[in-house]
Symmetry: C2
Subunit: 243 residues, 2 copies
Amino acid sequence: MSQQRHESTPGNPGAAAAFPDLPEATIARLPEYLRALHNLEGSDTISSEALAAAAGVNSAKLRKDLSHLGSYGTRGVGYDVALLIEQIEYILGLDQRRAVCLVGVGNLGHALAGYDGFASRGFRIVALFDADPARIGEQISGLTVRHIDDLARVAAEESIAIGVIATPAGAAQAVADQLVTAGVTSILNFAPCVLSVPAGVDVRKVDLAIELQILSFHEHRKASLTALPGGRAPTGNQEAVGS
Amino acid sequence: MSQQRHESTPGNPGAAAAFPDLPEATIARLPEYLRALHNLEGSDTISSEALAAAAGVNSAKLRKDLSHLGSYGTRGVGYDVALLIEQIEYILGLDQRRAVCLVGVGNLGHALAGYDGFASRGFRIVALFDADPARIGEQISGLTVRHIDDLARVAAEESIAIGVIATPAGAAQAVADQLVTAGVTSILNFAPCVLSVPAGVDVRKVDLAIELQILSFHEHRKASLTALPGGRAPTGNQEAVGS
DNA sequence: CGCGATTTGTGCACGCCTTCACAAGCGCCT
DNA sequence: AGGCGCTTGTGAAGGCGTGCACAAATCGCG
């Protein structure tokens, strides 16, 4: 897919030693490994074959990914589950339980605010914002919706570095600008539009409709293949987003 | 990230002519081009440079992508907006307004059921299912929540080929099995787990927490770089999921 | 009609990622 | 202590995707 880094990655040998720059593809898989590992707690060690199966990837790929983190496996035995969890969580910075704010408590934002998958995997949603005066003050999952103009103040107080945009597309760029001004340096964008941000700010985009459209393409292709003389039903895919 | 096709792609020259097999990376970008094009309706033609900017990609990449569909541009002029929209929608199979069902109307499923981005981009959510008896009969966005056991019957009646799973992880595999049995051949999975499906069924996964974890990694990296002597603030990323 | 400006379509080279295959290392059992 | 089986870690090859740079083609204008 289409992950890319526009990073210049300047030569920085000191930093490289302290913080190995992992391939982007590897980083995208680490959370998957972590989830699989958490399901395996109780086991002491696990082989690359078993962990790869649990994470839905090739075992060679898994070993290469983990080798980039250092050697946390024992030949003939496997990987130490607890140690590996600790290492991956450290690399991903999850041990800090980062503060996250969410802007836009409409249909989707409402659900995200209550999504317990964030809390259970290393994040704290600490503030909700919206521009609609009618929504200010509303209580959602123990948080009070605040006005977007309070963003800068609250972000500073709570040391918020990550922001989630769940507004309509039309408002997203303005919100992104406000987030950047407030010191946020990572943005997860659910609005279907391209955001323009200064260097040093990371943006990841999730577009729910795009995923369906990709599936629709494969449906269309499957249908046109089976409809043709000599056409064969294709074998299945298992794809993951994010990467 | 980690998009991959486990497709065997058998030699099928007849089908290849009728339905060119596009690179997976290209397919993942087509929806993005389509969205940008819809924002440009009113213009007659558009250059690859302008469209690429609107879609957030490189212009050479855009031209190469579109060239895979055939020649719908005119040198010296640009691409015909209306024609390109029509072509991309055809390739993606969106002109059929595919029926989609959603299983799991909890926190996230509720939001997805009401998400208008699906309807506005070529899909019809025609049925909602849940296993919880307390939820059966509930009205959401004009649809009635039905029991999961009705899935096979409804799927056949409505010709549903795409299913969305928004259940807890523990229930996802069982739901996937039921979807497959009901004839669904494409699944969009929001549950944080790996699904096992037979050949011929496509699965795409969206894990909201994973996206945050990837951002967290970059935050961690940025922090460790700036803290080091000689460390430099890195330049910004703009990444897209999906592909 | 011819020329220049503009934009598409693409050959090519480079780099990243994946996958295979195997050497190196570890533990257990005798 | 030695050997055997198992698993990790990695070298190398191949494939895919990206982006540059340019040739080919079209339009408009004089």
